[in-house]
């Protein structure tokens, strides 16, 4: 069918017949894109396979329910897993309200002057600051300055600082994508800025905000450097009972195990990595499910 069109075009004499070349370039580019994609997927799969082969043998209830030990067959990740749950919950409680409120303020309420631009620029820059730097800030401000010691809350505050720029930027994008006409409709009914933002801007932007939040929390769950910097413990044989307790987390436990000489501990680390990935996967899946639900409702 396209061929008959081509011959028609050729007959006009106005166009050089370059359809073959253009098709070839298009095909080439398509293969290139596919190759790049599948290379990434393949490498990732390889990594997962390697980790699974090493770690799967250690993965059992004993592994999940034991404290770390210097004997590999007795060692487990109970304290690290619980620490990670504590940490991620605290981070979410701190960073989501602060991040979303900041984005909302910047886009809906503040005057768009020079200071506004400066703040925007700085937030974008902060997203690129290495995590170890946030660790140093956390150590100075939270651990020492506010004397919160090496506690869960110190870790959570530090991590919140680290992921705030990501949450703010993602939320701002989502809020910006809400059509102005929606806001005008609300204003014309005598709504205040807050009523407009709460009833229309936030619900419409929610799926986008959620995506940003999940990306940010996923980053936080895997970060090691800031936690090491603020001095999260590597050997914890008890469970934290409140935000002021000291703690360990999965990435710290993994880091500790891979830095030991014995081969068994390396395999334990692989096991812990599988658990970490599973936690991540469950988090993301939940988020995608919620986002899907809310998007359905908006349609």
């Amino acid at each position: 069918m396209p061929n008959s069109e081509n011959t028609n075009l050729k007959k006009t004499g106005l166009y050089k017949d370059n359809i073959q070349t253009r098709r070839r370039i298009a095909a080439l580019f398509q293969y290139f894109c596919a190759l790049v994609t599948w290379t990434g997927v393949f490498l990732l799969a390889l990594l997962l396979y390697q980790v699974s082969v090493d770690g799967i043998q250690w993965l059992d209830m004993q592994f999940l329910s034991s404290f770390p030990s210097r004997f590999p067959y007795k060692a487990g990740i109970k304290s690290a897993l619980v620490g990670t749950f504590w940490l991620i919950t605290l981070i979410a409680i701190i960073s989501i309200p602060v991040g979303v409120a900041t984005a909302l303020y910047l886009h809906e309420f503040s005057r768009k002057g020079r200071i506004h631009k400066l703040i925007q620029l700085n937030i974008s820059n902060l997203a690129g600051v290495p995590s170890i730097v946030y660790g140093i800030i956390g150590l100075t401000i939270f651990v020492r300055g506010l004397a919160l010691e090496r506690s869960l809350i110190s870790g959570a505050l530090t991590m919140s600082l680290l992921i705030l720029p990501v949450i703010i930027i993602a939320s701002r994008e989502a809020i910006q994508a809400v059509p102005m006409s929606t806001r005008h409709a609300a204003f014309a009914l005598g709504a205040t800025r807050w009523q407009t933002a709460w009833a229309h801007v936030l619900p419409t932007a929610f799926p986008g905000i959620l995506t940003g939040v999940i990306l940010a929390l996923s980053r936080a769950i895997g970060e090691t450097a800031p936690l090491i910097m603020i001095g999260a413990l590597t050997y914890v044989a008890f469970l934290p009972e409140g935000p002021m307790d000291s703690f360990t987390a999965l990435p710290i436990q993994i880091f500790n195990w891979v830095s030991r000489p014995q081969e068994e501990f390396h395999e334990l680390a692989a096991g812990a990595i599988i658990v970490l990935l599973a936690v991540l996967l469950i988090m993301n899946a939940t988020a995608i499910y919620i986002r899907h639900k809310t998007e359905q409702k908006l349609k």
Binding site: A185, F187, A188, L189, G190, T204, K299
Partner: protein, 268 residues
């Protein structure tokens, strides 16, 4: 229908017919965007329970002027307004006016239908509910949709998304939403420009119905619409008010040559 009109010499170039009861009074209103003038010293009244149309070629400042009547221009950076707009004797831009409370009294329907991405019911109910309406919401929603001539078409799917309606239905929903607040004045910014002729006819019929209870200001590109639907007409060109009078006057015996040329379709 044809109120007493007296030519007034407030501006010697523009003889103005003054309606008896004006709810809004524009007095030498000038609006500029970051220093660029969009409206220059426009004065005319808006009559109560009448339809006033603002006509003129694209870019003449008619939308800008309309948006200044419920302070929607506040959301545009760099807009400044000189002169006065009196709403029942009070300066709309005075320090004691709360724009939020004002917009509750002066509603607006926009050029493109902009329903909220929510159900039909919630679209109508949201305005009254945030403003603390304590009557029966179901009744108010029904009554507003009936007024907007949409009830029969949507009564069986009130809780479905408003985005599933056709363009014309969406626009009538937006009108219902504005009416639910029982505003003193309803501003309409080319409400039919995105609609097909049948939907347009629906909305024009609606205007006649609404006139007995509401004061309506409508910006329109459509000469027939202005001449059919409105009682008073203001003709703007390049930000200047060329002529204001009863619609009959403007369309049959315009005082200004530019008005005559525009309404007879010789330019614009």
């Amino acid at each position: 229908m044809n109120p007493q009109t007296t030519p007034e010499a407030s501006d010697s170039e523009n003889p103005i017919s003054i309606p008896e009861n004006s709810v809004l009074d524009l007095q030498k209103v000038s609006i500029s965007y970051s220093g660029n003038p969009a409206v220059n010293g426009v004065s005319f009244p808006i009559a109560e329970h009448k339809i006033t149309s603002i006509i003129g070629p694209s870019g003449c400042g008619k939308s800008t002027l309309l948006r200044s009547l419920n302070r929607m221009n506040d959301f545009v950076d760099g807009v400044t307004l000189d002169g006065q707009i009196l709403y029942m004797g009070q300066d709309l831009y005075g320090n004691d006016i709360d724009p939020v409370a004002l917009r509750r009294r002066i509603g607006m329907v926009f050029q493109k239908p902009n329903p909220f991405p929510k159900s039909i019911y919630k679209n109508v109910a949201w305005g009254p509910s945030i403003n603390g309406y304590i009557g029966s919401m179901d009744e108010l929603v029904e009554q507003s949709l009936v007024q907007a001539a949409l009830w029969e078409e949507v009564k069986d799917r009130l809780h479905e998304s408003a985005l599933g309606l056709s363009g014309g239905q969406q626009q009538r929903l937006c009108i219902a939403r504005a009416l639910a607040m029982s505003p003193d004045i309803l501003l309409m910014d080319e409400p039919c420009s995105a609609l097909d002729p049948i939907s347009t006819a629906h909305i024009e019929d609606l205007l006649f119905e609404l006139k007995s209870n509401y004061t309506i200001v409508i910006v329109t590109h459509n000469m027939q619409q202005a001449s059919r639907a409105s009682d008073y007409t203001a003709f703007l060109e390049l930000g200047n008010l060329i002529e204001f009078g009863t619609t009959r006057q403007i369309f049959t015996v315009p005082q200004q040559k530019r008005t005559e040329e525009y309404v007879t379709g010789r330019f614009g």
